[in-house]
C-alpha cells in the first residue's frame, strides 16, 4: 500500500518521521511562528517519552527563545496535564511534543492556545500563514529569556480531577488495578494517581523510556498483555493508555478488552446519571452514546473529527460530558480535553457507587457492533469517489458531509467513510445493533469503493 508523504502539516499541528521529514529546522521554524502568533510570554513545553523528544524539545526552545517567549519546560508530561496547566496559569500557550498514538518513529508538535485548547481551524490557519510568510518577531539579545523548569507537570491537573471525583467512595473499595502506559507519558504519573484513589496498583510497560513495547493505540488487539495480566493478578480492572496519556481503554475483571468505544460510553452514562446535560461527541463515536443520552433525555451534538472541534462544541453547548470513541473522555467541568485520568476516575467511581464489576457495568450498556476496515484508494480519486458515494446514497439515508461521509440509516445503523491522511486508503467504520448488519454494510461499501478507485 503506497504511503503518503511522511510530513503532515495541518490544523492539528505538524507531524512527521524523525530522520526523514521532521527536521530540527522545521520544528524550530514552526516554534518561531507559534511564538510570533501567541506573542512574548510563557509557553509551556512538554513531551511524551519518545527518544526523539529531546532533540525536538531543544528545537522548540530555540524557536520560542528567538522570538522572546519564555519556555516553561515541564519535561515528560501527559497531554491533558499540559492543557490544564496552560489553562490555569498565565501561560500564553503551549507546545506538546507528541505523536500520540502514532508509531515510535513519528513525532509531532501540537499547538495550544492560552485557553488550554488546541488551536482551532481559524487559529491554526493563522499560524500556518505566519509560518509560510516567515515573518517572525525575532528579538535582540536584551529581550531574550531563559528556559524555566516546572518539575510537577500534573499539579493543576490532578488537583482538578481529584476535586471532581468522590475520592472517599473510591478509596473504600481498595480496587486492584493493572495499568499499561506503553512506556509513555503516563508511566510514572498513572500509579501516583491511582494510589491517591486508594488502589492497589500493578504496572506493566511503565518505564518511561519511549521504547514502545506495543502499538501505542489502545485497541483490543494491542493490549493483550494487559488482558493476561489482569487475569493473572485477579485485578478488578485494567487500564491502557496511549503514549501521551489522553486516550484510555478498559479491560474487565475477566481479562477482556471491552473495546475503546465503551470507555466514553461508560463515562457518559455515569456523568448523566448524576447531572443531566448535553453530550458532545464526534461523528465517528459509537451510537451507544445516543441511546444512553436518550434514556436520560439529553441531547447529543456531533462534531467533525478533531479534539478541538469537540472541545469548542462542548463549551458552546454547555455540555456535561462527551469525547471521542477512540477512548477520549472529556469532562468540561475539569477541562474540555481528552483525559485518560478523568476516564479512570469516573469508571472507578461508577464501580464503587454501584458495587458491581466492570463486566456487569458493560452488560447494562445498550449493545452495538462496530466494524472497521480500510480500502485502497489513491489520493487522486479520493474526492471523486466520495462525491459519487454521496450522490448515490443521499436519497435513502441521512448523509453528513462535515467530515468525509457519514451515512445513517433509519434503524440507527451507520457507516462513516474518510480518506486517511497517512496512507493512500479509505477508512471505513460501520456500526449497527446487529453484528451481521454492521459486517454487511462494511462489505457492501468496500466493494463499492473498490469499484470507484
Amino acid at each position: 500500500m503506497p504511503r503518503r508523504s511522511s510530513l503532515k502539516v495541518g490544523i492539528s499541528g505538524i507531524r512527521g518521521i524523525v530522520g526523514e521529514t521532521l527536521t530540527p529546522q522545521l520544528v524550530t521554524t514552526f516554534s518561531e511562528a507559534f511564538g510570533t502568533f501567541v506573542g512574548p510570554g510563557s509557553v509551556i513545553v512538554g513531551r511524551d517519552t519518545r527518544l526523539s523528544g529531546e532533540m525536538m524539545k531543544n528545537a522548540v526552545f530555540a524557536g520560542l527563545l528567538a522570538v522572546g517567549c519564555k519556555p516553561i519546560d515541564v519535561g515528560i508530561s501527559p497531554v491533558p496535564s499540559i492543557l490544564i496547566k496552560t489553562n490555569r496559569t498565565d501561560a500564553v500557550g503551549a507546545i506538546a511534543i507528541t505523536a500520540s498514538h502514532n508509531p515510535v518513529q513519528w513525532n509531532a508538535l501540537k499547538f495550544v492556545g492560552g485557553n488550554g485548547l488546541f488551536l482551532n481551524r481559524y487559529e491554526a490557519q493563522e499560524l500556518l500563514d505566519t509560518y509560510h510568510q516567515s515573518e517572525f518577531a525575532l528579538v535582540e539579545t536584551d529581550a531574550h529569556k531563559a528556559v524555566a523548569r516546572d518539575d510537577d507537570p500534573v499539579r493543576e491537573h490532578f488537583a482538578a480531577v481529584l476535586s471532581y471525583l468522590d475520592v472517599e467512595t473510591i478509596r473504600k473499595r481498595n480496587f486492584k488495578v493493572v495499568f499499561d502506559s506503553c512506556n509513555g507519558a503516563g508511566s510514572t504519573f498513572t500509579p501516583r494517581f491511582l494510589e491517591m484513589l486508594g488502589c492497589e496498583v500493578v504496572g506493566i510497560n511503565n518505564v518511561p523510556d519511549g521504547l514502545f513495547p506495543r502499538n501505542p493505540e489502545p485497541k483490543p488487539e494491542n493490549i493483550t498483555q494487559l488482558c493476561e495480566t489482569v487475569k493473572a493478578e485477579q485485578a478488578d480492572i485494567g487500564f491502557a493508555q496511549d503514549a501521551d496519556a489522553d486516550r484510555l481503554a478498559i479491560v474487565d475483571e475477566q481479562g477482556r478488552a471491552i473495546g475503546e468505544e465503551l470507555t466514553v460510553s461508560l463515562a457518559v452514562k455515569h456523568v448523566l446519571s448524576r447531572k443531566r446535560g448535553p453530550v458532545v461527541v464526534n461523528l465517528s463515536t459509537t451510537a451507544i452514546v445516543d441511546r444512553i443520552a436518550e434514556e436520560f433525555d439529553c441531547p447529543v451534538i456531533r462534531t467533525r473529527i478533531g479534539e478541538v472541534n469537540v472541545a469548542e462544541a462542548m463549551i458552546a453547548h454547555r455540555a456535561v460530558i462527551g469525547g471521542e470513541g477512540n477512548g477520549g473522555v472529556m469532562v468540561p467541568a475539569i477541562h474540555p480535553c481528552r483525559d485518560s485520568f478523568v476516564g479512570m476516575g469516573i469508571v472507578l467511581q461508577s464501580l464503587a457507587e454501584n458495587g458491581n464489576t466492570v463486566s456487569e457495568l458493560v452488560a447494562e450498556l445498550p449493545r452495538c457492533f462496530m466494524v472497521k476496515e480500510t480500502v485502497d484508494c489513491s489520493t487522486e480519486v479520493a474526492h471523486s469517489a466520495m462525491t459519487s458515494l454521496r450522490k448515490k446514497h443521499m436519497r435513502d439515508a441521512q448523509v453528513d458531509t462535515r467530515d468525509g461521509l457519514k451515512i445513517t440509516y433509519p434503524d440507527g445503523s451507520w457507516i462513516h467513510i474518510r480518506p486517511s491522511n497517512t496512507e493512500a486508503v479509505m477508512r471505513l467504520a460501520a456500526e449497527s445493533p446487529s453484528a451481521e448488519k454492521a459486517r454487511d454494510l462494511t462489505r457492501r461499501f468496500t466493494e463499492e469503493i473498490s469499484s470507484l478507485c
Binding site: 524523525v18 530522520g19 531543544n58 518513529q105 535582540e140 529581550a143
Partner: protein
C-alpha cells in the same frame, strides 16, 4: 545609511558570527550544527557557552542540530572557551562548539568550531564544514539513533589542576599576590575565584556575575579597563586583568594604574616563556615589533601568520612552534593546549612576577615598547575588496607584503591595513617608536580608505 545598521553575518571556516534577532537565526545555527555534526560523523561533541542572554537560544539550536545528526553531546553549560577546548581532549571528543562572540558587543553571538585536538578548525577542516553547510546534505538519524545530552559539572577542578601542574604554582602561591580581575560578567565570572584560589592569590573581583550583562564592551582594551585602573592603587593590588567574554583574551593593568595596551600581553608572556623553552614563535602581521625584539634576544625565529585564531593555531601546529599569540591579547602554548587561553596567560604572567620578584610595572618597563595606533573604519562588506585594492595600489612603491591585507614596513614605522574577519570593518594598525609618526602613517591610510568608501 549608517553602516552599523547593515545586516551583519560573518561566516568563516573557524565559525559563524552574527547579530541575534537579525542574522544569527536559530535555523542558521541549527543548519551549521547539523553541518558540524555531519562533519564529525556522529562523534561526541562538547558544547559550552558564554553568559550572553541569547546563549540559551543558541545552545538549544546547536543541541537540536547535533542530536539530529546522531552526535552525543556533553553540555558544559556556561564555560570559558579555553576550558571547552581543554575538555575536548579530556573527554576524547570529536570536537566542540563554543558559543561565544568573544570580544564582540552583547548584540552578537557566535559558534566557534573546535576540532578533536581542541584547536579551532584549521582552514581545510573549516572549508569542509562550510561545504557541507552549503550542500545542505546533513546526516539525519532515525528516532532510535539520535544523540543524547549529558550535562557535566565539576570539570573546572580538572582543568585548574592541570594548569597548576604546568606552572611553578608554589612560587606563585608563596608570593601571595593580590589580583583584580574584571570578568565583564562573562564566562569567566565566578570561575576566576577558583583560579585565584588555586594559585594562592587574593582576588578582588569586578563584574563577576555570570549574567551576560556586559558593563562595557567585552574587549580587553585600555578604554574598557578604567574600573580596574581606578581602584588598583587604593586597594594596593599587584596586577589587574581584564578578560573577554569567552576568556580567550586578556589585557593588563599595572600596580601603578597604567592601563596597558592588549598588545603587550603576548610580549610579556613571551619574554617569560622563552626562558623555559625556545623555538619558533607564531605572531601575525598586526602584532607589535616588541615580539620581534624579544625573539631576537632569545634567538628564536618569528613566523607571521594571517590574522585570526584559526590561522594562528594552524601555523603553530605546522611550524612546530613553542608559543603563539596575537596583538589582541591572546596567547597559546601548544605544550599546554592548542588554544588561546587567558587563564594560562594570566598564570604565566603571575609566575613571571613571582619568579623574577618584580612588580608588573617594572617588568613592562624592561620591554622594548612602541607606540601603536589602532583604528577601525566601518566598511560595507561589498566595498571591502575595492578598499583593500586601492590601499595596495597606493603603497605599491613601498613594496608591501600582501599576504593578509596590506603590510608596509619602513625603517621607523610599520602599518597594516586589513579587513576584519569578524565584523564589517577595515582595521588600520600603525606602530613606531615615535607616537606622532605612527599617528601620521595611520591617518594617511585612513584618508585613502575614506576616499574609496
Amino acid at each position: 545609511m549608517n553602516d552599523r545598521d547593515l545586516r551583519q553575518l560573518r561566516i568563516s571556516p573557524a565559525g559563524v558570527r552574527g547579530i541575534v534577532g537579525q542574522t544569527l537565526t536559530p535555523e542558521l545555527i541549527t543548519d551549521f550544527a547539523c553541518a558540524f555534526g555531519t562533519y564529525v560523523e556522529c562523534g561526541l561533541v562538547v558544547v559550552g557557552r558564554d553568559t550572553r542572554t541569547s546563549g540559551e537560544m543558541v545552545k538549544a539550536s546547536v543541541l537540536a542540530g547535533l542530536l539530529s545528526t546522531g552526535c552525543p553531546v556533553v553540555d558544559l553549560g556556561i564555560c570559558p572557551t579555553p576550558i571547552i577546548q581543554f575538555m575536548v581532549r579530556e573527554l576524547s571528543a570529536s570536537g566542540a562548539i563554543a558559543i561565544s562572540a568573544g570580544h564582540n558587543d552583547a548584540r552578537w553571538n557566535a559558534l566557534g568550531f573546535i576540532n578533536s585536538s581542541g584547536a579551532h578548525l584549521n582552514p581545510y577542516q573549516g572549508e569542509e564544514v562550510l561545504d557541507i553547510y552549503h550542500s545542505g546534505e546533513f546526516v539525519k538519524r532515525p528516532w532510535d539513533s539520535l544523540g543524547k545530552v549529558e550535562r557535566k559539572e565539576g570539570y573546572l577542578r580538572t582543568y585548574l589542576d592541570r594548569l597548576c601542574s604546568f606552572l611553578d604554582a608554589d612560587a606563585i602561591r608563596a608570593a601571595g599576590f593580590k589580583v583584580i580581575v574584571d570578568a565583564c560578567n562573562g564566562a569567566a565570572a565566578g570561575i576566576v575565584d577558583c583560579f585565584c584560589d588555586s594559585l594562592g592569590c587574593q582576588l578582588i573581583p569586578i563584574n563577576n556575575e555570570p549574567n551576560g550583562r556586559f558593563p562595557h564592551d567585552p574587549e580587553p582594551r585600555p578604554r574598557n579597563a578604567s574600573a580596574i585602573a581606578s581602584i588598583i592603587k587604593p586597594v594596593k593590588a599587584d596586577i589587574g586583568f581584564l578578560l573577554s567574554s569567552d576568556a580567550g583574551r586578556v589585557s593588563i593593568v599595572t600596580d601603578i594604574g597604567e592601563t596597558v595596551s592588549e598588545e603587550y600581553t603576548f610580549p610579556l608572556v613571551l619574554e617569560h616563556f622563552l626562558n623555559r623553552k625556545k623555538g619558533p614563535i607564531i605572531s601575525n602581521f598586526s602584532t607589535t615589533k616588541t615580539v620581534d625584539d624579544i625573539a631576537r634576544r632569545y634567538g628564536c625565529p618569528v613566523i607571521e601568520s594571517q590574522v585570526g585564531q584559526s590561522h594562528s593555531l594552524h601555523a603553530m601546529t605546522m611550524e612546530d612552534a613553542v608559543i603563539a599569540g596575537e596583538g589582541s591579547g591572546t596567547v597559546a602554548v601548544p605544550e599546554f593546549q592548542p588554544a588561546f587561553d587567558a587563564f594560562l596567560a594570566m598564570a604565566l604572567i603571575l609566575e613571571m612576577m613571582a619568579v623574577r620578584q618584580k612588580k608588573i610595572s617594572e617588568l613592562l618597563n624592561e620591554l622594548p615598547r612602541y607606540h601603536i595606533v589602532k583604528e577601525k573604519i566601518y566598511c560595507p562588506p561589498e566595498k571591502v575588496h575595492s578598499v583593500i585594492a586601492e590601499v595596495r595600489k597606493e603603497y605599491l612603491r613601498e613594496r608591501p607584503d600582501l599576504t593578509d591585507g596590506v603590510r608596509v614596513d619602513w625603517q621607523d614605522c610599520w602599518i597594516h591595513v586589513r579587513a576584519s574577519t569578524t565584523e564589517p570593518l577595515i582595521r588600520v594598525i600603525a606602530e613606531s617608536k615615535d607616537e606622532q609618526t605612527a599617528r601620521e602613517r595611520a591617518d594617511q591610510a585612513i584618508s585613502i580608505i575614506s576616499r574609496v568608501i
